[in-house]
């Protein structure tokens, strides 16, 4: 039972981090109807900035700088590439983002090389013991920060002018423009916000029990993709639920791997995608989605 609880808490914590990444996917999709495959490299850019800067300016300043850097990279991708790509189909734009992702990831992995870069976080490998359950401090912080960010984000989405503009654009861009909404700004801010959320996620994906940032970190970001899809690509609630489902599934499957040996090794990594397929078979628009994700 203690093992199950530990795995569950860890799963929820990792899931909250995935939810942050998935939220970025969803925000960009809602604002621009583009499926953003550049997300993994935004995350890598944020993580790399933190790893590179923390010996120079300290951890917290490096985190702030990393968040700003990833937001800037996101905004630049939107401003320099997507805004200027006058193609009719959103599908083509999605392919463009794949190209941008390959470019950025290649450059970043070249810089990272074969090293594992520590982020210099203050939590180290300390653990918290609550009754029979032992959890890494980093996981508790990740859960708290992700939950706070998600709540703040959902409140902003619901109540601020930015959120209203974003939702209006998501529903009907032309009519939003007729109401004076500057679509370019909405799109730019969506990419910047997605980048910032990805950088926060990068920080939590690269601290204990993970040794640090390496060239494989971008692959972790791809786990947020099934989270966004199974939740419903245009639903913020769906991103949250999807993130938690993926996190918990992955952690439980990995944790009970010895009991599930007949499924082969590495089932934890594959499980989120299996869950995604099953959910899409039952609900083609995802759990909370309102549009067909098939428009990709």
């Amino acid at each position: 039972m203690a093992v199950f609880l530990e795995l569950l808490v860890n799963g929820i914590s990792v899931g909250a981090v995935y939810a942050l990444i998935a939220l970025g996917f969803v925000v960009i999709f809602k604002a621009t109807e583009v499926v953003n495959f550049t997300h993994a490299s935004l995350l890598l850019a944020g993580g790399y900035a933190i790893a590179w800067l923390h010996p120079l300016i300290g951890f917290w300043a490096a985190v702030a700088a990393g968040i700003a850097a990833a937001a800037l990279v996101g905004a630049l991708v939107e401003f320099l590439i997507l805004r200027r790509a006058h193609v009719g189909s959103r599908g083509v734009l999605a392919i463009v983002t794949i190209g941008v992702d390959i470019l950025l990831t290649t450059e970043l992995t070249r810089r990272i090389g074969t090293e594992v870069l520590a982020l210099g976080d203050p939590w180290g490998d300390r653990v918290l013991r609550i009754g029979p359950v032992t959890v890494a401090e980093t996981r508790v912080v990740a859960l708290a920060v992700a939950a706070a960010l998600i709540v703040a984000f959902l409140l902003a989405f619901k109540f601020t002018g930015w959120g209203v503009a974003m939702r209006a654009t998501a529903e009907d861009a032309e009519t939003a423009a007729l109401m004076g909404v500057r679509l370019g700004r909405v799109s730019l801010s969506a990419w910047a916000v997605a980048g910032a959320l990805a950088a926060v996620a990068a920080m939590f994906l690269c601290v204990f029990p993970t040794p640090g940032l390496d060239r494989g970190t971008a692959a972790a970001a791809m786990k947020a993709f099934p989270a966004a899809i199974l939740g419903g690509l245009d639903s913020t609630t769906g991103a949250l639920a999807g993130g938690l489902i993926v996190g918990v599934t992955e952690t439980l499957m990995s944790g009970y791997q010895s009991e599930l040996a007949f499924l082969g090794r590495g089932i934890g990594d594959a499980a989120p995608f299996l869950v995604m397929i099953v959910i899409l078979l039952l609900r083609p628009s995802g759990l909370f989605g309102t549009k067909e994700p098939a428009r990709v």
Binding site: D172, E174, T175, A177, M179, V181
Partner: protein, 308 residues
């Protein structure tokens, strides 16, 4: 439908078309130069719009003086909506572009200006088919309309809109998609008024509405105009449009074929035949008036079953 319980149901004070004395209707395009005194309002000159190879508007001249209501009549596909898109800066959403001519408002050019900037210059369009944000609440829709103005002005505009459409206050927290057609039209107009426009562009505001609701909308347009907002009204319901407007334009296949004071147009034989359907008593009736009990109405052509 509680939306019909508000103030201003179209009354018999409405001037019906056909009652005006026959006057002179200037056919064709108003001579260049005659619109100078209107440069404060909307001034469209020689406008040509293309969607790729298709020419949707050809040499359109049109003016809406400040404080006036102008109507554009025409059949489906005549270019009415294109005309509004050219003013509101939304042609690019439909892969259209202004290829020659100018659109000016308040003395400054609007052609080439993006939609959001047109709104900031005081020109706001209510799109055809209402297009309320169905997944957002009524209050959020109104807020979306006020995104281009500072908070204090938005609060004042909101008060004015809720006074005009009390039903929107009752429905404030309902999803806009759940409103009736008439209520959605009120919301669409209210949402546009939130930006405090000097010129309101209305695209077929009565399309698909019950006659009583259409009359209600017509009356609202009159009230909005009385408060100082100019209106450019695009309508297929010619009787209503001519009753509301001071000046009217007839658009056919992308060209203005007739323009002049609305009363003169209403009296012209061509307009009466083609847009008012002369001979059908209902259309000669002033907008919003009750046709009376069925047994008192003049007898109409009897329906006959067609057999081969």
């Amino acid at each position: 439908m509680s939306g019909e319980a508000g103030p201003g149901i179209g009354g018999p004070e409405t001037v019906g078309p056909g009652t005006a004395a026959p006057g002179t209707v200037d056919p064709g395009i108003a001579a260049p130069g005659t619109v100078d005194q209107r440069s404060e309002g909307l001034d469209i000159r020689g406008l040509e719009v293309r969607y790729g190879p298709v020419r949707a508007l050809r040499g359109v001249h049109l003016a809406v003086p400040r404080g006036a209501v102008a109507a554009v009549l025409g059949a489906n596909g005549a270019g009415k909506t294109t005309l509004l898109r050219a003013v509101s800066g939304t042609l690019r959403f439909h892969r259209g572009a202004i290829t020659s001519g100018t659109v000016a408002f308040g003395g400054s050019r609007l052609d080439g200006v993006p939609a959001a900037a047109v709104v900031r210059r005081g020109v706001v369009q209510v799109p055809e088919g209402r297009r309320v944000f169905a997944r957002m609440t009524v209050a959020e829709n109104l807020r979306a309309g006020a995104l281009s103005v500072p908070g204090r002005r938005a609060a004042a505009a909101r008060e004015r809109v809720l006074e005009l459409f009390p039903v929107l206050a009752e429905r404030a927290h309902q999803r806009a998609g759940l409103l009736s057609g008439g209520e959605q039209q009120m919301l669409a107009i209210g949402r546009a008024l939130m930006a405090g426009p000097s010129l309101l562009l209305l695209d077929e505001p009565t399309l698909g509405l019950a006659p009583l609701m259409a009359a209600r909308i017509a009356d609202t347009v009159r009230q909005i105009n009385a408060q100082g907002t100019s209106v450019l009204l695009v309508e297929q319901n010619a009787a209503m449009a001519l009753a509301l407007a001071e000046r009217a334009y007839v658009l056919e296949v992308g060209e203005v074929t007739l323009s002049g004071p609305a009363a003169d147009l209403a009296a012209s034989d061509e307009v009466r035949r083609r847009y008012l359907g002369v001979g059908v008593p209902e259309t000669d009736r002033p907008v919003g008036t009750d046709p009376g009990p069925a047994h008192e109405r003049p007898e109409r052509t009897r329906l006959a079953r067609w057999t081969a």
